[in-house]
């Protein structure tokens, strides 16, 4: 009787994509948060000076 098909490479590719996309999305959230906080601080300073 034949064993399961050799599909290990596809499984690795699938999980690599899943965890990479999740990591990239998390990084994008952090980067956007930092940029917006900087923008907010700058705008508040400008507002104060006015």
């Amino acid at each position: 009787m034949e064993g399961p098909a050799n599909t290990l490479a596809y499984m690795i590719a699938g999980y690599a994509i899943i965890f990479t996309v999740l990591a990239v999305y998390l990084v994008s959230l952090v980067v956007r948060w930092r940029n917006l906080r900087q923008d907010e601080e700058t705008l508040r300073e400008i507002e104060k000076k006015r």
């Binding site: 399961p4 599909t7 596809y10 499984m11 699938g14 999980y15 917006l36 907010e40 705008l43």
Partner: protein, 232 residues
Amino acid sequence: MDAKPRWLSVLDVVTALMLTAATIMVFFYAPMEAVMGPVQKVFYYHVAHAWVGMLSFIVAGIAGIAYLRTKNIKWDIVGLATVELGMVFMLVGIVTGSIWARPIWNTWWTWDPRLTTTTIMELIYAAYLMLRQGIEDPERRARFGAVYAILGVVSVPLTFFSIRIFRTIHPVVIGGGDPGADGSFDMTPKMLQTFLFSLLAFTVLYADLMWHRIRLGRLAERVEQLKLRLSQ
């Protein structure tokens, strides 16, 4: 101002633990499928991503209705957050499905009813994000977003039921499938437990990411208001 809530930190930890547990279950608890081999393990997270994608778009429709009823901008922030997350999850669902299909269907892609309706759904929400960018007035943008999300949600049941209505080669996980479906398998109790736990873990991940994305949306809203004030 806007310090991270303690409960959000708790949810972050719970999410990380649940995802770790789900991954351990996928690789070390669920048995290897007898015919497809290791690639079948992609199924657990593939379905979980597709589920969260559909859930996200349903939440967008609900947020759209809530915005039109209340005119409260917080619902627009919720709508945008959930559509962005839905896009990410559904995209991963499509790509992992394609990776699974290559050894099982012997092709990366086929215009099967499920694959076609999923692609249409993804494109509908890609258009939502692009069209929003073109509207500067926040109130008009929110109104447009709400109406679009309510209309767009029709694509969710169409996608979900496509494999139950039309002839398809896509396997049906819950309920009876088309006899022509290629790649279906009977789940053992351990497979079913892993599958259900993965669905739960990704639903918790969705809630966690939503909370973070809504906070980001509120911050973006504050920055936009500041810009508007300064430009006057």
